[in-house]
């Protein structure tokens, strides 16, 4: 950031500023190093490959699958073979060992090329709330056992935190865990569990005592088929319909001590860690979709004529597209900055909340703008804009609602 403009700056002051900048590495060898906003050539190649892959492999029958709520296991497997699920995981577990920025770049490419937002959302849920916490908090045995399958597509992960009476106030959860010898026994009900109907592995949270709040919560990694764990009916929902969702019911679900994820009473930390990743990365696919929509709207506004001229010549149509462009560019900066902070191991809580808030709300607005620009056609299912709009709304709710993101930002500002 520059200081307010002054025209009375002395030569001595300039020398002083340059010397300071050199000390801080902003200027080296009398050359100003600009801030670099470009992806590396490797990241650009990966993003391009992701666009082509998603465009050619993931877009078949999405309208029909959306209508009938069909999850594509085939698409899931293709993504795993491309390297999506394993992108941020170490090579020793079958991942690609990529950092957050590279992963975000790939996800943006998938969202640009691919129209099955549900499938991409399911993959996001799997990566950020199952694989990533396992990588950070799992024991060597848990990592050996699960991470290779979570990378190569054999295993689908899910995460159960939300409950009927604990949503935004997640640490007021009531699902109980009691110790019986070295085993743990879980009882309770988790709702809104993305992937539950197809999941092989569940990261679940329970409390030893609801009075303890965050300090009472422990995380567990529990396999499908474990006695006492049951998934409910598949839920019908407004958008992201190709990602399936159900409740998870725990009735005297007994698991050995090896199912504990992280330390006893430190589940809130595990949950917080996975949310930080999710907030930072989950909307990268939406960013790609925003870019695709923008380009689509520009092309349409140039081609569609009314009153003898392209509709883009009408200022109110052009302004709508200008706003879409601004939202996309600002959203992009926020997401990549958050990725950069995470890559540098810097605290990213507030930035991730800003990215989550801004991108999700911008995505909804841009989806509505895209429909408006396409007129009546935009309202028709075949153009796929109405589905994108339905898909977008969930982004302001999952991983913490917009209101909760605002609270996090306000707390970061110590308000």
């Amino acid at each position: 950031m520059r200081s307010p403009a002054r025209d009375d700056i002395s030569f001595a002051e300039i020398i002083q500023i340059v010397a300071g900048a050199q000390r801080w590495g902003v200027i080296s060898e009398n050359r100003i190093i600009p801030m670099n906003f470009e992806l590396t050539p490797e990241q650009q190649t990966l993003q391009k490959a992701a666009i082509e892959f998603a465009g050619s492999e993931l877009n078949s029958n999405v309208i029909e699958r959306d209508a009938r709520q069909i999850f594509s296991r085939e698409g899931w497997q293709k993504c795993a073979s491309f390297g999506v699920q394993g992108m941020p995981l170490p090579k020793e577990y079958g991942g690609r060992g990529a950092g957050p920025i590279t992963t975000i770049a790939m996800m943006e490419g998938l969202g640009y090329g691919g129209s099955d937002q549900g499938l991409l959302f399911a993959i996001n849920a799997h990566m950020w709330t199952c694989s990533i916490p396992l990588l950070k908090y799992g024991t060597p045995a848990q990592k050996e056992k699960y991470l290779p399958g979570l990378c190569d597509g054999r295993l689908i992960g899910a995460n159960g935190a939300s409950e009927p009476n604990a949503g935004s106030d997640i640490f007021s959860m009531q699902t109980r865990v009691t110790k019986d010898g070295s085993d743990y026994v879980l009882n309770g009900r988790k709702i809104f569990v993305t992937n539950a109907p197809v999941a092989d592995l569940f990261v679940l949270y329970a409390t030893v005592d609801p009075q303890l709040g965050a300090a009472g919560i422990s995380g567990f990694v529990i396999e499908k088929g474990t006695a006492g764990l049951r998934t409910g009916e598949r839920k019908d929902k407004m958008g992201l319909r190709t990602a399936l969702m159900a409740e998870v019911v725990l009735e005297n679900c007994r698991v050995p001590a090896t199912a504990l994820l992280g330390r006893e009473g430190r589940g809130a930390e595990v949950f917080h860690y996975s949310m930080a990743w999710e907030r930072a990365c989950i909307l990268a696919t939406c960013l790609g979709t925003m870019r695709r929509q923008l380009e689509r709207c520009i092309n349409y506004a140039r081609a569609r004529t009314q009153f003898g001229q392209p509709i883009g010549k009408f200022q109110s149509v052009a302004n709508r597209i200008v706003d879409m462009k601004l939202r996309y560019e600002a959203a992009r900066l926020l997401i990549y900055k958050t990725g950069w902070l995470m890559q540098e191991n810097k605290s990213a809580d507030m930035d991730a909340a800003m990215a989550k808030l801004y991108v999700s709300e911008s995505f909804v607005k841009s989806c509505l703008d895209a429909i408006q620009i396409h007129g009546g056609s935009g309202f028709m299912t075949e153009l796929e804009l109405e589905r994108e709009m339905r898909d977008s709304v969930g982004s302001t709710l999952y991983s913490g609602t917009s209101e909760i993101q605002r609270n996090i930002i306000a707390r970061g500002l110590r308000l």
């Binding site: 030893v208 005592d209 303890l212 709040g213 965050a214 300090a215 009472g216 809130a268 917080h272 707390r411």
Partner: protein, 84 residues
């Protein structure tokens, strides 16, 4: 390590992590940390992790409560009792 040293170490940690730029004098031994929202529930867990690694102690879930963690004085007492 005695009580003033424990307080100083925890104070530095809290100032750096949760009150950057704040006047150190504003954080006294009796400033309420949890009940005023300086530390939210996740921050409390991070403080617990810091206490464990810095002072080589182990805390149980029922110990991460307001009575033990609301002020620098209470935290120092908790650490001292654990090290005793």
């Amino acid at each position: 390590m005695d009580e003033p040293e424990i307080k100083a170490a925890v104070k530095t940690y809290i100032l750096n992590e949760y009150l950057p730029g704040e006047d150190p004098a504003a954080l006294t031994d009796t400033t309420e940390l949890m009940t005023t929202g300086i530390l939210d529930s996740i921050a409390v867990l991070k403080v617990v992790t810091f206490l464990e690694s810095h002072f080589g102690i182990t805390l149980e879930p029922h110990e991460a409560v307001v009575e033990n963690l609301n002020t620098l004085s209470a935290i120092a007492r908790l650490v001292m009792s654990k090290k005793a």
